[in-house]
Subunit: 327 residues, 2 copies
Amino acid sequence: MRDFERKLITEWRRLGLPFSESTIVIAVSGGADSLSLLLAADELRKLKKLDLRIVAVHFNHRLRGDESNEDEEFVRQITVDRDIELAIGHSGSAIKTNIEQNARHERYDFLRRAAENVHAHAILIAHTVDDQAETFLLNLIRGSGARGLSGMPAVRKIEDSEAVIARPLLSWARRRDTEGYCHELAVKYRSDTMNEDESFTRVRVRKILLPLLADFNPKIVEHLAETANLLRVELPPEPEVSGEGLRLDDLRRLKEADLKRTIRAWLETNRGHLRQVGLKHVTAIERLIGSGKSGKTVELPGGDAVFKQGGWLCFGKNMVEKRGLAN
Amino acid sequence: MRDFERKLITEWRRLGLPFSESTIVIAVSGGADSLSLLLAADELRKLKKLDLRIVAVHFNHRLRGDESNEDEEFVRQITVDRDIELAIGHSGSAIKTNIEQNARHERYDFLRRAAENVHAHAILIAHTVDDQAETFLLNLIRGSGARGLSGMPAVRKIEDSEAVIARPLLSWARRRDTEGYCHELAVKYRSDTMNEDESFTRVRVRKILLPLLADFNPKIVEHLAETANLLRVELPPEPEVSGEGLRLDDLRRLKEADLKRTIRAWLETNRGHLRQVGLKHVTAIERLIGSGKSGKTVELPGGDAVFKQGGWLCFGKNMVEKRGLAN
């Protein structure tokens, strides 16, 4: 067994992934990370360490023309050569705004459907320690709040399903390990030209910010990934709130930390995200809750607002703008 | 009232600091931050917004020879000119190792004693938003774990005392605001040459890392400071543990997150800090707790070790080294 394969099977056990009588789906872009995961799992199957049906899933976003199609052809060839099952999906839409975000949604949707089709027990995604560290920095730079810094989990259940999403490289594999493993197997991998395009913040984080941080601490990638992991474990779980109003009497009984958490979770539910929401907004809402006066409004970035009505704390979508139009 | 003074008195109220019939101590290095705090408080007293006894406290570390003595003389002159009480302390020792850390301890000790002498209700320290952001980054780079990223509080009680330590600039003042206020009053301030010395990590964070981060997000300093604040509020309080052993039966009843927290707090108590302690050590200790075998040892960075003995989890100081000598 090669070192990479040994580390993978150790993590496989730790994560409680199935060893036999199961189907697993592996998302494969053609890059070193996902290719190394697919090939190592396939090698482990050949070594009889795993006795599983493995289905590779490739999603062609069609965002990069010929390059996307070459990626698809590359994955097809690799899987044909090695006799690995392959499911391929194509992007239906050509939405060009917020490319990264939409592409991700489409890809995850397709992955889920592909997994359902083959009754998979696990969807494997090849995120590495580097991905975890980069995501942490991206969220830190965007100001996503405390919980926004929590790292991706190595395993999580999929809602309304027995299947899990697992990241068996996340806790140990650096990007150079996945590249090294591909070299070891003498397999070429694809390099996404987007990974070189510095108009993407993530690329600048990788190519400019992280090398500078490594001057401060050579172990920075591992540190950041670990910090993200610790925050996920240490932060209390998100309180459950609905998109409805919150009863003021209930809120006033909460301790300060719980009140802050509840407000943030409620804002996130209503806005879909917490971008640009800062401590000052949360504090203003706390003051609104605490004060006896009605009629006051806390304006949020983007035009939403929070106000009180008949004993309830209410959320007004695009309220500030609407009021402007009405006046 | 000048803008800086208005913001200070607003924060004064928010923090519950006394307005009259009290004594406050203000730590003054002679730099723009502490000088602006002292002068603004003094101006507010002249404006009858505050009716307090104000005592400036300067601590001369004697780390920078003539420069340190000039700082002292400068603070003395400013306080004489304005008829402000002043207490001066001098460093007794000349410990040159870990300069920043020791100097900080000595300074805080002297501050506490000076506050006791005058029966002060509050010790005011002039940390700014920039300090909060820089400290966050320093701790992130050092890998101080999740709780190490929690920001300084704007107010905290001093143990066994009615007094508080307050940072009335922390939540709103940028360094440029304090410099601007000194300019407004036509008062010169001292610049510590250490603030320019790039052999200090903090200086490189300020001069190299933060400007690069500002290319990503111009509001980065505010974002980082706010993240540090949110983490302080959101992370559950440190569990109480003694330096004694922990009973294995108790540990085995804990939920995973509580167990991790308990282990970390216990390690911190025993080692004095959590530096270099990572998730892998905590996980190894969890496995040690969970396993039925005795005789195994988890080695920690620096030579300490954790082991089991008669139903207890035990901490061995410098154990790894000692064992080495015994063999």
